[in-house]
């Protein structure tokens, strides 16, 4: 009898824990929580929706490939409609949920959140590539896997000078005339203004009056006429695609003879579609490859777009998906490194993750990533593209760091 009782005890000892563990295995599986703020309904939704799709697809890829050293990522992705109060509210939610990092969006909300995320030691990988976020002395937890707006603007104006102005009949006879066209009140649009004007002066340009073109403009005739009156040779556009295409179209129809260079959020596959002939010759710094371009890891981007968003035709996908992947790939590597070092905290992800990356190649047409404790600019080399027959072609790779080493090192960080 005693033997039977013993047997029953063994059975109970075996089955009860097995039952409990079996039921609760899912509950105890470690997850790495990440928040994502996206704009799919607001003033930048023309580019924000594609970026949001890219974030979700890249996280799926990460999870299909083992997550963070075996721990899957749980993504909390929200639309905030490009409204800063909404972004601040959602950030508080991410903190309550226990997110270890945030994939953010716009310049306004990223810069507004910067003091908070610094205090919270929350790595914040944004789609705002504002140079204001690259100096770790001021914004240590702000990061992104792209060359910043100011570096891109300096490179674009330099490439135009090298490839177009030097062939102009007036080269050497007069200064090229330059104007900026952007929405003054938006931090994204105005972030690189100081840098591009500085570069214009370095290259010996004459700088004309800025033109205030709304981020939601569908008509920019009065501003284009002002550019024409000034006799602009070159216009820098700081808005997103819809507004840029409206301005370029008006410039074409009103006979403005100037060339155009565009910031990355206005220089995508929709620009030639919307602006047609007017987009021919437009130059820009897309900060990564275009969707489907023949570069390392693009096959994965296309595969996951097909697999996870089969309802969105591939021909409608944009370079912003690729930009989203670059940010996710950089964060993934940083988290893997921090986790291996046993420190998957905000500070660990920054110090033992991001700031250990040296020429880390994510492919995707992004410059190799280097982040140091004193400089979060990933690279000084920028590929400048132009539109020819509706397609994007590289015209020059501008290496600012080699060309102006002292300025790069001592002057240009953080603006």
């Amino acid at each position: 009898m005693k033997q039977k009782q013993q047997w029953f005890k063994y059975v109970a000892l075996f089955f009860i824990p097995a039952l409990v563990l079996g039921v609760s295995a899912g509950v105890f599986a470690a997850e790495v929580k990440i928040g994502a703020l996206n704009d799919v309904t607001g003033a930048t939704s023309d580019v924000g929706k594609d970026y949001a799709l890219g974030i979700a697809e890249a996280i799926q890829y990460v999870n299909d490939n083992g997550g963070v050293n075996g721990k899957p990522i749980k993504l909390y992705q929200f639309d905030y409609g490009y409204r800063i109060p909404e972004a601040l509210t959602k950030y508080k939610l991410f903190k309550r949920l226990g997110a270890v990092a945030v994939l953010g969006w716009g310049t306004g909300d990223t810069e507004a959140l910067s003091p908070t995320i610094t205090k919270d030691k929350m790595p914040y990988v944004s789609a705002s590539y504002s140079a204001h976020l690259t100096n770790p002395k001021k914004t240590p937890f702000n990061l992104f896997a792209a060359t910043d707006y100011s570096t891109n603007a300096r490179a674009a104006i330099t490439a135009w000078f090298d490839t177009r102005w030097k062939k102009h009949p007036d080269y050497g006879k007069r200064k090229p005339k330059f104007v900026c066209s952007y929405h003054f009140a938006h931090p994204y649009c105005s972030a690189p203004i100081k840098a591009i004007k500085d570069q214009a002066q370095i290259l010996g340009f004459e700088i004309g009056p800025d033109q205030n073109v709304s981020l939601v403009a569908i008509d920019a005739k009065s501003q284009v006429l002002a550019m024409k009156d000034y006799g602009a040779d070159l216009v820098w556009h700081g808005n997103t695609t819809m507004s840029v295409s409206a301005t370029v179209r008006d410039a074409f129809s009103l006979g403005l003879k100037a060339d155009h260079i565009v910031n990355c959020w206005g220089f995508d596959e929709n620009l030639p579609r919307l602006a047609g002939k007017a987009a021919e010759g437009v130059m820009g710094a897309p900060r990564c490859a275009f969707f489907g371009e023949d570069v390392k890891n693009m096959d994965k981007v296309v595969e996951y777009a097909k697999k996870y968003n089969p309802g969105v035709p591939l021909e409608k996908r944009l370079t912003h998906t690729v930009g989203a992947w670059a940010n996710v790939m950089a964060l993934w590597e940083a988290m893997n490194r921090a986790d291996k070092a046993g420190d998957l905290t905000g500070e660990g992800i920054l110090k033992k993750g991001f700031e250990t990356l040296r020429n880390y190649d994510v492919g995707l047409g992004v410059a190799p990533l280097t982040y140091t404790p004193t400089d979060h600019r990933i690279s000084g080399t920028v590929s400048i593209y132009e539109i020819k027959n509706g397609k994007f072609h590289v015209v020059e790779r501008v290496d600012l760091k080699s060309r102006w080493p002292e300025k790069w090192e001592k002057e240009w960080l953080g603006w």
Partner: protein, 198 residues
């Protein structure tokens, strides 16, 4: 003591029989071949909460709070039916679609919440699409601005029409580019869908 032993023996037998029965009821392992794609059907669209039509510019002094460009919110609920035709449960991991009013996309609904659908059953799920008139004005301009310009329509006319006529659904509300991701034991199926209501 003997009774107690008998009782324990019977309980053990029952547990073993139930365990075996449970195992017997288990279906084949999901594979690429036997995993049938679940179906996603739009049941209907509701105006979840209605605030009417209004817009205040930032030039209007509010009774309380700060002035701003504020438009009436619009909260639409999209009720979907998701049917699992398999003889094993499947997990829905992601659900996403774009909301279109007439020819214009006005919102994208994203959900990463997981939901299990039992074998052979249909679940109903409600997704909210919330936006205000200001947000939609901006979205309309940046995603459909040139189309709007070519059609000769003003965005105010469009917004007023949509906000005032939505209780009657007198214009088509589209679900575009929808996709849902289903998984069963590591096997994945994606389903795309498009609907128009009414």
């Amino acid at each position: 003591m003997q009774r107690k032993s008998m009782f324990l023996a019977v309980i053990s037998m029952v547990a073993v029989v139930m365990f075996m029965a449970g195992c017997a009821g288990m279906t084949a392992k999901p594979t690429e071949k036997n995993f049938k794609a679940p179906t996603v059907t739009l049941s209907h669209v509701e105006v979840q909460t209605y605030w009417g039509w209004w817009f205040f510019s930032n030039k209007i002094k509010p009774a309380k709070g700060k002035a701003g460009n504020y438009g009436a919110p619009l909260d639409l609920a999209f009720i979907f039916e998701i049917t699992n035709p398999n003889d094993f449960p499947v997990k829905m991991e992601k659900f996403q679609f774009t909301v279109g009013f007439e020819d214009f996309d006005v919102n994208t609904v994203l959900s990463n919440e997981a939901m299990w659908i039992p074998a052979g059953k249909t679940n109903q799920i409600r997704f909210h699409s919330i936006q205000d008139a200001r947000q939609t004005q901006l979205s309309l301009l940046v995603t459909g601005g040139l189309k709007l310009k070519e059609s000769g329509k003003s965005f105010w006319d469009m917004l007023e029409k949509w906000w005032t006529q939505i209780p009657d659904f007198s214009f088509p509300v589209h679900v575009r580019g929808g996709s849902a991701i289903f998984k069963a034991d590591g096997v994945m199926k994606s389903v795309s869908f498009n609907y128009t209501f009414p």
